[in-house]
């Protein structure tokens, strides 16, 4: 590719994507709690108020249900709102507006209505934020037909997917890992750079086992891959990038090559993203598999505050390495 690149952070990718789309389309506006004057609690939207003014960059009251509803209503009637929900845990308060209203509007109206709403929110544990500020609830909205879901792991993916989502005519959700806002990476230097939903990305090529990983777990998987490489195990890391729509083709092609698969996501292990992916692989790649599909996720416990406990609950590279080893030998995992 000849497009020049720049290195920016995951947080800067958010700001650039919003600013570029707001310049491009005057129906795009942005609202959330402390997002304007303060630039967001994670400081990733600093500067937007200065450039676009109070009409298009709005500080809201602490009223998640209200602002989500206002986002849905504005989207229905000609605007393209971006609504920030500061911590993904707080999305619970806005759930009716997303699940029962936004997601179903197009279908229920026989295609008359559309809801071009972008929701940005955060996931991820690891800073002793305890049980109500650390969850990774991406499975919830991935379960809902009518909502599109992106879960970017790099600045480039975040920027490209966020821009796509703002241009999309459907309700979309971007799950940003709050621990990754400082993560740096190259991003194409092009105002029209976007990434389509439903296209997975191979973050590392390998031949012995496929690690399907989301968000921060992509980086954990890459570290595990380095460790396994030293043992002579060649790991391919596949990042689906969007959970809905989901690019199964890329995952199946990888498993066809490697014959083994492990799925990792930071959310609670039960009834979530890993369960869905593992079952689809087991079903659609059955003929290629030499071992059962394994999955790694957070323990099924509320995220504990104590620095003595929290790390126990989150998947790490050691756990991934052990799981992969177990596919080759009889290692207890």
């Amino acid at each position: 590719m000849s497009t020049p690149e720049r290195v920016i952070t995951y947080g800067e990718a958010v700001r650039e994507a919003i600013a570029e789309e707001m310049r491009r389309d005057e129906t795009v506006f942005f609202m959330g709690e402390d997002v304007a004057a303060a630039g967001g609690v994670f400081k990733v939207t600093v500067g937007l108020l200065d450039e676009f003014g109070e009409e298009r960059v709005r500080d809201t009251p602490i009223s998640e249900a209200g602002i989500m509803g206002a986002g849905v209503g504005a989207a229905l009637t000609g605007m393209r709102p971006i609504v920030e929900i500061m911590f993904g845990d707080f999305i619970t308060i806005a759930m009716d507006q997303i699940v029962n209203q936004a997601a179903k509007m197009c279908y229920m109206t026989g295609g008359q209505a559309s809801v071009p709403l972008t929701i940005r929110t955060t996931i991820g544990a690891g800073r002793s934020s305890a049980a109500q500020h650390s969850q990774s609830l991406q499975a919830w909205l991935s379960h809902i037909p009518g909502v599109k879901v992106a879960i970017p792991s790099t600045p480039a993916d975040l920027k490209g997917l966020l821009k796509t989502s703002i241009r999309d005519d459907n309700p979309t959700v971007i799950y940003e890992d709050k621990m990754m806002y400082g993560l740096k990476g190259p991003v194409p230097d092009d105002d029209d750079y976007t990434i389509p939903f439903g296209v997975a990305d191979i973050k590392r090529e390998g031949s012995d086992v496929t690690l399907v990983a989301t968000s921060s777990m992509v980086h954990t998987a890459l570290k595990a891959a380095d460790m396994l490489d030293k043992e002579g195990v060649s790991v391919e890391v596949v990042d689906p990038r969007t959970l809905s729509p989901l690019d199964m083709d890329t995952i199946i092609r990888s498993v066809e090559k490697t014959s083994r698969a492990v799925v990792v996501d930071e959310a609670y292990r039960s009834y979530g993203v890993t369960g869905e992916l593992a079952s689809r692989i087991a079903d659609e790649a059955f003929d290629y598999l030499d071992a059962p599909v394994k999955r790694v996720g957070a323990m099924d416990v509320p995220v504990p505050f104590s620095p003595g406990l929290e790390p126990e609950t989150i998947p790490d590279e050691a756990k991934l390495v052990r799981t992969v080893q177990g596919l080759f030998h009889d290692v207890a995992v």
């Binding site: 009251p61 209200g66 002793s128 323990m299 003595g308």
Partner: protein, 339 residues
């Protein structure tokens, strides 16, 4: 309508203290304990001994203590992310609180909750809360339970000026009013929610307490830095609630002297002015109450110093206790997911 809401305050420097001396001593002790506790939290946080987010209550002590000094031990309260003061005011032990700050096994929640989730069910403290507005329904339910059991218990729901814009407030206030539940909704109006001024995001004429009119419940706007005014208001409203006359909304006007949480910069450089902060510093609830005790002849300067020394020592001991306590062991991680 706002005409009818007069600021309830007492004249601080008249040399009168219309409460019995033991009660005054307790109010002073609790307020100063909160102040010293929070200063210690700031210190351990800065030293890296505590993780998570520390939302300090410094400046708002009269609100928690004024209200809780009107409660019985078995009355309930729900608290917020800025909850340390409420817990101490209701009788929480500083050593076990400090251990929880550090995620240690001797903490109130065995390290599982941390600063934003401390609870002591034996003191009716149903928990601090990480969700803004998260306690409103629960306080209403605790009041319902007290009423159904005929126990005479009341519930206090502490929340901030920011939380009054959550839909949960409307739903809870309405329920409490139609069922005449013994709950005091106490809005601690410190004038900011995080970095946003309440006046920018709250549609009221002057006081958030005006909203009570919509729920047919009494409203009080109180000088929240005046422990006596807060206490007297609470006594009256608790009595009313216990008599079955239903809920009320008390708005304590106050100010947090520090940032939203430790480490988020200097508020006076960004979203508030030094002049405004100085005005509130002049109304610091603790020296204000001390001056009244002095004038009433309850204490002298020397005794105030020795009270402070005792409290400081108690808080230092709490830090030592917390430092010495171990982290919970890994096998505890799956305990308590279910009862």
């Amino acid at each position: 309508m706002s005409e009818s809401l007069e600021l309830i305050t007492t004249s601080s420097d008249e040399g009168t203290l219309p409460l019995p001396e033991p009660q005054c001593r307790e109010i002073y002790d609790k307020m100063l304990t909160i102040r010293r506790f929070e200063e210690a939290v700031l210190e351990i946080y800065t030293q890296g001994l505590m993780r998570g987010l520390a939302h300090l209550y410094i400046g708002q002590e009269a609100s928690a203590v004024g209200i809780c000094s009107a409660l019985n031990d078995d009355d309930y309260l729900t608290s917020t992310h800025r909850g340390h003061g409420h817990l101490i005011a209701k009788g929480g032990k500083v050593d076990r609180m400090m251990a929880e700050m550090m995620g240690k096994v001797d903490g109130y929640n065995r390290g599982k909750g941390g600063t934003m989730h401390i609870a002591d069910m034996s003191l009716g403290i149903l928990g601090a809360n990480g969700i803004v507005g998260g306690g409103m329904g629960m306080a209403t339910g605790a009041a319902l339970s007290g009423k159904m059991r005929g126990s005479g218990q009341v519930a206090v729901c502490f929340f901030g000026d920011g939380a009054i814009n959550q839909g949960a407030f409307l739903e809870s206030a309405n329920l409490a009013s139609i069922w005449s539940l013994p709950v005091l909704f106490v809005c601690e109006n410190n004038h900011y929610g995080e970095y946003t001024a309440a006046s920018d995001v709250t549609a009221v004429r002057e006081h958030v307490a005006e909203r009570a009119a919509g729920f047919d419940m009494p409203a009080m706007v109180v000088d929240g830095n005046d422990a006596v005014a807060v206490h007297q208001t609470a006594v009256e409203m608790v009595e009313r609630a216990r008599a079955g006359e239903g809920p009320c909304l008390i708005e304590n006007k106050t100010y947090r002297y520090r940032g939203h949480h430790v480490g988020d910069g200097d508020p006076e450089k960004t979203y508030r002015t030094q002049e405004e902060t100085d005005t509130w510093l002049a109304k610091d609830p603790i020296p204000r109450f001390a001056r009244r005790m002095l004038k009433a002849g309850m204490v002298d300067e020397a005794e105030l110093e020795s009270i402070d020394a005792d409290i400081t020592k108690r808080v230092e001991d709490a830090v030592t206790f917390a430092n010495d306590s171990p982290y919970p062991t890994a096998d505890e991680v799956t305990d308590h997911v279910y009862a």
